[in-house]
Symmetry: D2
């Protein structure tokens, strides 16, 4: 049993961590911090957990957790995690940060898109970007893992086979992504109200969303050349789920069958990535509550474009599930522990 703490346990990603870790046979959850709900049982904040957790949230300085836990998940707004990770590293506590602080190799990229000073620039190069399908071995050895953003997870998994092989024009990529409202977090704000979201769809952050440079960093690394993308997120009236519809222009002639084979080869043996049969287009609800990423693609022969659809649950593979997957790798547990579950469907 490994001792695990969660810093910022009462947001949606924190609660999803508690849910998944309650199913984990090798983890002892030793502490949950919350500034808002200190003194309350997590099962009162999230009654879905009634009968599954007796833990009481604590309004603790995050540093105190470093004395109780061997691994900490950080689920705080950006800007708070980097200094904490540095402290943890000194004490030999492993860190999985669900925020953006440690995702960028270039400090200035982070600073220019997030408009804050980087809190631990010395970690920028050494933190591992926690997408197991691309970085599995590095994650196993990592002390600090930067858990990917939800949109980037879905976009990068959708594009990796194409860019790795240099099959598409790196200037042609457009990612039209749609996310459920849980992606906006548990903050009481007007734009997240039921009545404002229900029966509606809208783009936001057009041409300016902070997940753009994260996607570009990882795609550029895969392509070994600079990739710039147009990325448009949309707010979708569902609780959980992201669908990214991705467009890229082929630079050499490939059939749809060859494209499918590329994906099958690239993701062979991956426990959480599935290419669906031809014509079965992924639906967000097929991955609801699961750590799966489901993909499909088509070749638009009239225009020479490949169209890829990629779905994940933004709170699971897009955040807390992937974080547990990273924990499993970092601790030498079987990678699918607490995660080997199909989506809740219907």
């Amino acid at each position: 049993m490994i001792k695990v703490g969660i810093i910022g346990a009462t947001g949606y990603t924190g609660a999803e961590l508690v849910r998944l870790l309650s199913l984990h046979p090798r983890v002892e959850l030793v502490a949950l911090t919350s500034r808002t709900y200190g003194g309350e049982k997590i099962a009162e904040v999230y009654p879905a957990l009634s009968g599954y957790s007796e833990l009481i949230c604590e309004n603790l300085p995050p540093e105190e957790l470093l004395e109780r836990a061997e691994v900490v998940f950080i689920a705080l707004p950006h800007g708070h995690a980097a200094p904490l990770a540095a402290r943890a590293l000194e004490r030999g506590v492993k860190v999985i940060d669900l925020g953006a602080d440690l995702r960028f190799r270039e400090v200035k990229t982070y600073e220019s898109w997030y408009k804050v000073k980087h809190g631990a620039p010395e970690l920028a190069a050494s933190a591992v970007y926690g997408l197991p399908e691309l970085n599995r071995e590095a994650i196993r050895r990592a002390k600090v893992v930067a858990n990917p953003g939800c949109y980037p997870t879905s976009a990068i998994l959708g594009l990796a086979p194409l860019l790795k092989g240099g099959y598409v024009d790196p200037a042609s990529i457009i990612i039209d992504a749609k996310s459920g409202v849980s992606g906006a977090g548990r903050e009481a704000k007007l734009t997240s109200l039921f009545v404002e979201c229900n029966e509606s769809l809208n783009p936001y952050g057009v041409a300016t969303h902070r997940h753009t440079p994260e996607i570009e960093q990882e795609l550029s690394r895969l392509a070994a050349t600079e990739v710039k993308v147009t990325f448009t997120p949309h707010l979708l009236p569902i609780s959980r789920g992201i669908l990214s519809t991705i467009y890229a222009t082929l630079v050499r002639p490939l059939t749809e069958a060859e494209l499918r084979q590329l994906y099958l080869d690239f993701y062979a043996g991956e426990p959480f990535v599935q290419l669906l049969p031809p014509g079965k287009w992924p639906r967000t609800r097929w991955v609801y509550g699961s750590n799966n990423c489901q993909l499909n693609l088509a070749l638009d022969e009239r225009t020479g474009r490949v169209i890829v659809a990629s779905v994940i649950d933004n709170l699971t593979k897009g955040a807390s599930g992937q974080a547990v997957q990273n924990l499993n790798l970092m601790c030498g547990f079987p990678e699918t522990t607490a995660l080997a579950m199909p989506g809740i469907c219907p």
Copy 2:
């Protein structure tokens, strides 16, 4: 490992059985029958199962399953299960029927509400009504279990402590129940279309719904007197979940605290029933995808009525989860095997 088959595997309750049994370490799923999808992989019918089941649906005469399986789940429309259960019993195959055929002790009650002839009247008295919280020991010994209806599960669990103790007037009970659309099954019919259900709520089957006599049978047994209820189901624009709001008039003065204690005592040690803290009213989403039943109550002192709210997931505790719970009891497995999971929330 026990060999298990599902007859009628491609409806919503069938798919939910496959999902749950894919998590069950003591079950080998050996056959899935389907009249519509024979020859197709269940994971093509329900792509959420991709990577979790390789089974192919078979268009088999149900009887053939009796040669392959030690336990069969029957998820067919009413009228088909009773003769099959009789056959299974002869062959020593255990049966859990998710339909209504075997729920009634009085053949004539079944026949008058369901408008069909009973297919195995000799089983009416011996089949066990599979509500573990009331009939646990009988289920352990049962060969044939009649899995309760979804509405009855939520209503009976909500009322049992009051009726068992004789605390309420048996003529005063009103059950105003609301169910998600999955309760209507996976049939392509106008009234189940998205556009017909979305942004809408309506009662149906008012004063005539077939779950009425099932609720009355079990409540009458608990109360040891005849109970007649007014039961009004409603169609709710959600996929999964039932909330029953229940009204009953006290026959002797009790405080709200005493009422709470009644429930705590009645359900002490139950793994799947939770009385929430005072003032936390159950929400359907708190049990989403789980086998839990969450309850709360209030005393309306102005009118002398108790008001109880009871939520379940209609496909899990209201159908397939409870069926797996019954399987566990019948086979001597720990009762919570494959079911010990909190609701997916948020």
Copy 3:
């Protein structure tokens, strides 16, 4: 053309007033007040109004409106309207208050349920309860109209024919009501977030909701005897719409056909109340965006209870539409002006 102002125009009921009045040929909307959006066009706060209103919200002391308008709608939280109404009365400005301040004839009923001091006790007796189906003539003559609450509108219209004739036991009434989330207003609070409401249903304010005494006041007046009800509101995952399911025990034998005739007679000639054909149970979406109230009923012969279902759009007939109906009556316009529209369906 009559000059009209709205005090508190940027909440949901305010916006619905603007929408409806933009269709009104006899109304000139002269001022909209808002504390939050002063200086912004209402069409920027609610872009649905783009092209239909050029009005700019003003952060004005409400009193100033009394100099510009002949009629004012007050859409403020309770406690603010009563003194304003008193002031308006002095100046000869007509008032339609969408809040609770002036709905109660007994000052102490208001004060004990709303926990505030009544702001104009002298108006309690003279303000007219603005339910046109019951009080049409008084509304025509009124200077101050207290627009009914949303739940009371649906409940009272559902019960009026039964109570007027003394057909049911006044101690037997249970109202199980379900409302869309717009009923909670446009406040940024946790319980109104999309993710907290979606795929969920829950009761709230059980045995304590403030609409209880309002319902009882009007039903008691109709029955000419004291009526006490059990009233349970629920939060429903839709934007607009209320369904009240109502239970009452008959005190003399009536057939369902006789009951239907009662309703047909009671509502004969009413432009906004429809009894649906037998077996067609009202759906909230059938009145979406309209001022209609649709009803149906059944007799549960087994228990002697009548079950009535009543639907309205909580923002229209349950608030702003009814307010415009009252305006029409008070100003001598045809009663259906700007309101004669079917629900948006599908």
Copy 4:
């Protein structure tokens, strides 16, 4: 008063026509045909219309309507309208066809995408494509109007200013469109069930949808050069509404302000098209139930692409509202009659 008939009145677009025409002061609706609901009142098929229409659906040969009406709307599946339109033309009855039969100037384009023989090839050239913002004068003079498809309406209005002026590369256009489920019609099919659509989003018809050549035909005409687009529709869990997110690469440098001015100029005076203020991205709910099209755009300077978002209500501006707008033009009524209403929002 003009006599109007609807052929195929009980589908969703038919019902929307009845709703809108019930508000039209110059139209007498004389006949509704339905093969399924002959003999039933339209207000029983769509109870939202209770009190607003007493018309009874008739199971008539469509030809009979030509004797009763001066204008007919045809809301039938493709393949049925063309011969009917030819017949109507002979008799001097004006036709507005909501299907695809008469939208294509090239018979072979229609036949190759729709896989049927064209039913009236002689009309292909003379029928007018009923998008008033582009073809207003031709519509005024037309005898037969082909009402545009829902996706094409939103896509073409979103792109017209860019293509008209030759500002974008005609090979660069990608349209990622999302539609509510009412777009799939009122047919009882599995993929339109509530449970299959709810909490989900998926692409469909990728690279093969029949609205592609319709969009290309109109854009090519505007651009005066061949335009080929990649068009990806998605099924969105809402009842009404389409959002098209559109990508195109600029061929000459323009600022965002210049782009906005292009749109303002192009749509100056248009009653139903609104460019929202900078940064206000259109939401489907802002046009709910209305005939409006709301637009906004951004320039992605990093990639040289313009991103346009365009929303309509698929049943109103995307079908029946636009059809009424065409009726108004063809009959010389004010263009906005029965249509000058903001979206129902909240």
